[in-house]
């Protein structure tokens, strides 16, 4: 069968239909919406700063003044989780956006032009893929002092290589597709070809990877702030677990709840990513032919 089916253009109900067929994805999406709401309305839910002492230290969960307990300095865990959602989502989304820009740009150039350019870009990508990414992120944030910007950039810098590879692969295979040749022979410019012919067709896998990358970025951010490399002005889930680490024997709740928050958010993002994959890359179209 020479006809390699390209993903048909799906719009409207087709996309949502395929997405909704994956129950996990729907649950993930609903949960994610809740996290976003919590992040948006954190100031209304817990008007006090999450750094303020609002209760007695070491209050277990379900205490009067602290639903999920309080930490060693009497800060409300629940308030920390609500405010921490902002940092996680903010850093997860922005660092992914930066990584997508870097990765897709390099991958597109590499795949479209091929030859020497491709060789050069791919060696560069491989180098970054070899470097232990978490170690690099730690080094970058430590040297450039922890701040929102340095964390976002560090995560982006260690996350782009897989996207570059993906984009390169897509561009390369689409570049040799006949409809792109047809665009060349009908006199369309390189920019038009990249923008109108190739990019729209390579978008689905990129979107799916990007959604999964948000999850990884959130994990990376939490790991950095667990090590004390978070932005010192912002309450984050990883920081809460890290700070409670030494008192785990006395107060399990201080590390338990923030960790659950990370787990569920990342899980939700992964589920949504899989749902997107089902909806955007239906492999079923290829099967069932005689």
């Amino acid at each position: 069968m020479t006809a390699a089916a390209i993903t048909p253009a799906r719009k409207g109900s087709g996309f949502w239909g395929a997405f909704a067929r994956n129950k996990g994805a729907v649950i993930g999406l609903v949960f994610l919406a809740l996290v976003v709401l919590m992040a948006v309305f954190a100031d209304l839910l817990y008007p006090a700063s999450p750094w303020d002492m609002t209760a007695m230290p070491f209050q277990p969960p379900l205490s009067e003044d602290a639903l999920l307990g309080s930490d060693t300095l009497g800060r409300d865990i629940a308030s920390g989780i609500a405010h921490g959602a902002r940092v996680s989502l903010l850093i997860g989304l922005t660092s992914t956006a930066v990584a997508v820009l870097i990765g897709v740009f390099l991958g597109a150039v590499s795949g479209f032009y091929g030859g020497r350019v491709d060789d050069l870009v791919m060696r560069f990508t491989e180098l970054f893929q070899t470097i232990p990414n978490f170690v690099l992120a730690v080094v970058l944030v430590a040297i450039f002092t922890p701040s929102l910007t340095s964390i976002v950039l560090a995560i982006a810098i260690v996350s782009w290589p897989p996207l570059a590879r993906l984009a390169r692969g897509e561009f390369m295979s689409l570049r040799s597709r006949e409809f792109v040749h047809a665009a060349v022979t009908t006199g369309q410019s390189n920019l038009t070809i990249i923008w109108r012919q190739i990019l729209p067709n390579s978008l689905s896998p990129i979107i799916v990877s990007a959604s999964l990358m948000v999850a990884t970025a959130i994990l990376l951010e939490s790991s950095l702030s667990f090590l004390g490399l978070g932005d010192p002005n912002l309450m984050s889930w990883g920081y809460m677990v890290g700070a409670a680490r030494t008192v785990i024997r006395q107060a399990w709740w201080m590390s338990f709840f923030p960790g659950i928050a990370i787990l569920l958010t990342v899980l939700a993002l992964n589920l949504v990513g899989e749902g997107l994959n089902d909806a955007l890359n239906p492999k079923l179209a290829r099967k069932g032919r005689s």
């Binding site: 006809a3 006949e178 409809f179 047809a182 060349v184 022979t185 006199g187 069932g288 005689s290």
Partner: protein, 554 residues
Amino acid sequence: MTETTLLDVRNLTIDLPRGADRPHAVEDLTFTLERGEILCVVGESGSGKSMTAHAVMGLLPKAVKVSSGGIRHQGTDVLSLPERDQRALRGGRIAMIFQEPMTALNPLMRVGDQIDEVLRYHTALDRAARRARVVELLASVGLPEPDHLRRSYPFRLSGGQRQRVMIAMALAVEPDVLIADEPTTALDVTTQKQILELIRDIQAKRHMGVMFITHDFGVVAEIAHRVAVMQKGRLVEIGAAEEVLNRPKHPYTRQLIAAVPHLIEHREDFTRDRQPVLTAQKVCKTFHIGGGFFTPGRKVVAGDDLSLTIHQGETVGLVGESGSGKSTLGRSIVGLIKPDSGKILFEGVDLLSLSRPAFRPYRRHVQMVFQDPYASLNPRHTVGDIITQGPVAFGEDRHRALDKAKELLTLVGLDASAAERFPHEFSGGQRQRISIARALALEPKLLIADEPVSALDVSVQAQVLDLLEDLRHRLNLSMLFITHDLRIAAQICDTIAVMQKGRIVEIGPAKEVFGNPQHGYTRTLLDAIPGKGWTVPEDVVPVTRRSAALRNSA
């Protein structure tokens, strides 16, 4: 049923899963396969011929089920056998070979071991005996140095060699039934001829029953004793080969046979007194495959001193096997490939000497129709967009371009409303019509058609060829028609250039090249055309297929 009946298929119905385009893959199918005969099962894609073969082998996909009827192998009901006995039958009594030799062998296993595996599970032979048998089998399918070859990995072998290995594997335990599912479709003509001969020899020598599945009546004429014709899951005609080929009864069989491409004798000679539109002079191109900064990679010569001329209104056919470099010249003319040296003169201007911006105006005049109708249309654009993108890029007004696109769609036999729809809503043949409309939108003088019908079923193939033939007369187009199929070239071309390993070995008027070939390679190619001894019966060929073709949208 008689003593000699190997396979007895009775009222076989195979259900397709819900949501498929029809309820049954195969419906109420009855036929037998006798010892010592080659039964060709013919049909277009989706006719259920392959599904039938898989049912016999017990290899149906999980979602597909036999709902009624039976398959008997020498009296034993195959379908009700326990899994163990079915396994013993598969590869033991009934063997199968497949279409794609490139993917049908395990890439990580030596070919000898892959054959050895069959012997291990179907015989009690010891290691040494199996080894001797593997060598013997490889030799029997005509592979050189079998003792050395058995230790090779598949990627070292050519497509033809791999298909021979597949056949050796199928013969390992002397089965009495061989099922061949389009075994030569992926091969070049000369290799196809060898494999067909091999299958015929082996069948005769071992007195096997062969069920040979194909879409090509040429192949049928070459090897069939009996023929079964299938259409949309039903058997429409079955009979002796001589009978079906020369006196087909069912209208569908007649239609299929009429669509077989062949040399049209009453075609008038082309006079080369008009202006040359395009002249290629000593074009050379070498590709470097693989390699990086430091390693040069492998060299492949795709064009070596290529020269030819296309006159106004002339169709030049460029024929050759895969890897002969026939696509390279076409792609060089439209600027997809930059040749290493030589000249390509379009109305006197050397296109290769032009800079990118200077070349651009010439793109209008030379347009291309591509091979794969599924890959040549951007799935995310409407047909209208696809056709108008070219003219718009050359500065034409969008609305005017769209109006013209609609005219073109009717010209190629589609409805004007097609402009609003997406490519995936069309069949292969219809897509190829869209592809042609796109090429015509720029009002080219020269059309490069690179294997434009090789991905299509025969009947659709004939319609698209008729369309091209009609258009070139109406629009006074010149055409470079690239194909691997000599029969198609014979039908549509005025001039034929035969390519081998990057060189044009023979060029001349179609009649002369076919009637009195000068070069040895041309003779080899012509000799390899399947079914050359058979002429399509006059009475099934409509006098003019053109009008009919334009009415049916493929």
